[in-house]
Amino acid sequence: MADLEVPNELRREAKEHDMYLHPIDRDTYELFFGPQHMATENFSIILKMDGNRIEKAIVNPGFLHRGFEKLAEGRPYFTNIALLLRICVPESDVPENIYSMAVDEIVGWEVPERAIWIRTTVLEMARVSAWMFWIMGFGNEIGLYTPGQWAAAYRERFMRLYEELTGGRVYHIYTVPGGVRRDIPGDRWLRQLRDTVEYVKGKMKDFDEILFDNYITFERTEGVGVMDKRFALKHAVTGPNLRATGVPYDVRKDDPYYLYDQLDFEVPVLKEGDSLARVLIRRYELEQDLYILEQLLDMGPPSGPYMVQDARLKALPRFKPPKGDAYAHVESTKGDFGAYVVSDGSHKPYRVHVRGPSQSHGVTVLEELLKGARLADVPVILKTLDNCPPDIDR
């Protein structure tokens, strides 16, 4: 503890405000990263630094804990949609869908074909708009602000489509157990969606030029935050992060839900497991998602009802599913998003447990990957893992 440069008064004042100024010795110090940092979004990391290198990282989540699982136990089944979707902000349709799928399985409902088509389309639109959100965040982290501005503008087009379909922009509250809440507003909406997909597809070249082909992206991400296949499986890393290590696991292919067994798409896999591989996987998946949306539009929505016909739905607040439990999961842009719902036969769920992908790659994996990294690599690792703190906190 020699040669401390922090004056004692400052140290005392910091202590009074429950803050820490911890120069451990001349080169080693403690650094609080977040929760206001753009890269961490809403959680903080306590870094033990040795000069510019990280010796140890401790993830400190909990800033976004809103107790949704507890609140869901006190509310009727359908109402919980309006709560649970707030678990994943950039793609709020994913929690809606996993919860609805689990409740559908408990009740034993056959969701109408039209509703299935709409749900698949909504999920894919959510994926594309979440990729746009990710491009914005990732571009900002490595200092390329322009693609982020473009991505925000293109995301706006999808938000407009959501607005017309669901009546909401960010939180759609659209998919409910048994179907969806509204029908497609007409052929005009389908034409608009096709136009938007075409438009974004045309812009992919610009994204490639300015972001993905950019040598800055390569320099910043190559060889940063490497994990191998064995490590990734042991740590239950899912989604693009797992595929970047060489495991071709995609829920849409392995546990097909909705229309995904009829759709034709490719699963990109790379072997390196570094940040660059994760970026490239994400870029390719964005292309594939646009391609899936085109296929869905070619298929066209089947005619029929968009909600199951069930007499129990007449008294919606008192709707009681039978006893049972179910686990449903979908592939989100961050990974395998799952929900475990237990029903005890009353009108409120007995237990809802959400498995966010960041629970596995946002805590232990992040702590491991940050060891030995430079301070400037922290945002890059965070953004290429695509960490979403609300998944951890819930």
Binding site: P61, K323, D336, R351, S360, D393
Partner: protein, 189 residues
Amino acid sequence: MDMNEKNVEEKVEESRPELPDTREGRLVKALIEKAPYAEGSVRRERRVEFRVSVERIHEFLELASETFEMLMQISVVDWIKEGEFELVYQLWSVSESVHAFVRTRIPRENAKLPTVMDVWPVAETYEREAHEFFGIIFEGNPRLGPFILEEREYKKHPLRKDFNMLGHVKAIYGEDFDRYDESKTNYVI
């Protein structure tokens, strides 16, 4: 599921019904042969279920980890009427594409369990969460303690069914509440 249903299932298990001759059935059969103390069944396509007593849960999970590479979640359900916690280990097999529920029950009082961190390091996060929300102690996990919650909530283990949410909120934010339930007799959150 309540006691009645559990009894029915136990009776079914006594007669040991034949597992279906599907991919899932064969998978369960192979695992049950190695671990005869566990009960296994096939729920539906790509969903299998195991019931293991708490004494041999670690042994069983270590065995299961050969087929099921990933531990997706540890879900805890508080069955307060029976005085038990049910732990559901959600496993996923990447090679076989099968999801497995491994269920075990422990008494609510003084709940203790061996950790599975040595099998899946990611279990550390799930166990920390289960510990702070339910108060289950995972022996061998070094990082049990406040994780998501603050100290004052952590001590009360809020996801337990006997946690008085309203009382807690009132204690923290005062009596300044204006929302009642439908019959206008109780406060609600």
